[in-house]
Symmetry: none
Subunit: 209 residues, 4 copies
DNA sequence: GATGAATGAGTATTCATTCAT
DNA sequence: TATGAATGAATACTCATTCAT
């Protein structure tokens, strides 16, 4: 292993160290209440060091969203590439994937809506923004491909696949957010999985002919 | 009209004046970028006066959510109380109602997720929090009642009506939020209405036997 | 006195209170070492209050320069408007005026060179910048008028009056700055007045025919 | 050449490399906006290395002033040592020298006033401070010698030569600074040389009997 | 000597909230 | 009630300097 390579690796390790700390702190306190000092303390680094790896607070935050998008894309593309699955089974596997995405980081879904704020977007480097856009587009495209296949075989209703993918993703994130709200306000038990299952069931019945 | 009553009315008028201004400013700038002075200026009042009517910024913000919940409840209860409508027609009317809720305040749906933050909840007075909880529960119950009726007549699948109402509400807010994200990131045209229609169509097909 | 007027006066009093404190602190520590908190403490106000009266640190600093320019202009215009003085006597009175300007605020001359920095200029409001430019131009014009008169009567060498005013002003500020340097480095006694007198004497001999 | 000597020479080369880079960066951005990293980058060295050659930022900055003082001294001493020049001609040659000093580093004149700040002086090593003082004194003395000679031959007015040298230097730096201010604020054309010429002409007339 | 990653003290500025009038 | 001037706590970010390699 060359010295260059070792340095690269060390650098990436630091980035991850910071991201992990940031995830914990942002999840705990939300974007605005979390301070860079909190994150530095959690990462056992100094505040200044954070800025060696991330341009600013917004960009650090956005990097978290990037992570879940990457995971989502991998999972969804994997569903698509599986051989010998019919549209029905693919939908099942897609739903399983969504459960995992949720498990991967239950709170970051909420955080992703932070990206909306145009103030936020202004502070992101074009490169990061482009990455996020590309990943989103790809993930949505991969989901759409599943629906398209179903439509072709005559199993699913014949709607624009991207539009279907949109509603599917909206349903998923809507449930996650809504259940999060309920949990905080009512301190209810965790019905998320059940609600997701019901939502997916309805969705699937809704798109089948 | 007693002097007491007149005062009460005057007070309520002021509250509304502030809420209207706050809605405009928060919609424009989001919670964090909006300052109390911005709102005071918009309401043509002084900053100090705002605190005579609202305990703090969070509570003022939460009051906006209260408003849309009130509107939602009125619309949904009205659907329920209409005589001579079958479950199918009630679902149709419910969907119409949701369009109106969105039109009533397109951005406040996004804002409602602000309530999630436990930091926010800490700053709300118990009274306001209780009002919000009650309204949410009532509105959800009213939606659930529609599904329950459908299930009884054998039109809809037989699931727990509150669970159905949950998924319905999640779908609605998920679409609104998702479309908002897309609009900001991709600067696409406004597909919201179309996406909502498709989502509702799928949902209805999904719950019908 | 109307309530409006009283408020205006009160506001101006506060501005002066801050300017006086700022002058003391900036003179002591220089622009960069002086903190807004230092100034606030000196003015017996809170840091936030400073920003009600001055846009930022640079603008507060520049306001000090404005003050001496105003004083300079008044003095120089007064020299010009005096009746019955020949060019020679006017030069004498001008020199007297310059001594007073120096006494008015010995350190602020040094500070005026801070205005050069283009970084500084960027942070000034156009209004303030315009005021400074206008005052500078007027003061220089007033000095030039004296030289012009001298040239017309054949007393002084026939050079462009503005150019003469430039060299005169440069000589004055050069001496002040140079003596300030010497004082700090060598901790010598204060020769400023003597050096100024010599410089002015040479200058006057230099421009007389 | 011994190994010791070669090392010494190498070390001096590095110092110069850094000084040249520092001059460029400080001229561009001024003392406060220029960062040690900027300078390191310009010198194609690492930030840490700068500290092997200069105690701190202030001392690096002061070293630039040292350089111009050295140049000034060489030029002025050369004027003095020229044989066969009368006082008049020496003054002429001195003025030429000052033009060259200005050309050598137009911005560093401005920077020399940075040394005034007592904060700055605190951070300089006694050795460097002593060097600067000595050089200043020598340069001033050399200028004074010219005036003294003029006085002895009855050409110039009979004033204390050091005092004359002070006013001469003050005039020079005053013009440079004043023209710099004007250039930035008014974005005028570059009148520096013309103004210097006029100032010197007046000065010479002023000191001649 | 040279490096450059890490440090962490330092500070301008903002803005929710208060309170004397 | 209403005001709005004053408050002062809170915080993102910078950068001179250090030190392990």
């Amino acid at each position: 292993m060359g010295i260059q390579e070792r340095k690269e690796r060390e650098k990436e390790r630091r980035r991850q160290q910071i991201i992990v700390a940031a995830k914990r702190v942002f999840s705990d306190k939300g974007f605005n209440k979390a301070t860079m000092e909190d994150i530095a303390r959690e990462a056992e680094l100094s505040p200044g060091t954070l800025y060696l790896y991330f341009k600013n607070k917004e960009e650090l935050y956005a990097s978290l969203s990037l992570r879940i998008l990457q995971y989502l894309l991998i999972r969804v593309e994997h569903v698509n590439s599986e051989k010998g699955l019919g549209p029905d089974e693919k939908i099942d596997t897609l739903m399983e994937a969504m459960y995992d995405v949720y498990d991967f980081d239950p709170l970051i879904i909420i955080n992703m809506f932070h990206l909306q704020s145009s103030e936020t977007l202004k502070n992101l480097s074009p490169k990061l923004l482009e990455e996020i856009k590309t990943l989103s587009r790809k993930a949505l495209g991969a989901i759409a491909a599943i629906f398209e296949e179903g439509a072709k075989t005559g199993k699913f209703i014949d709607k624009h696949p991207i539009a279907l993918a949109d509603t599917f993703w909206a349903l998923f994130s809507g449930v996650v957010l809504w259940e999060a709200s309920k949990k905080i306000i009512n301190e209810d038990k965790d019905y998320l999985k059940q609600t997701l299952r019901l939502a997916f069931e309805i969705y699937r019945r809704g798109i089948e002919k």
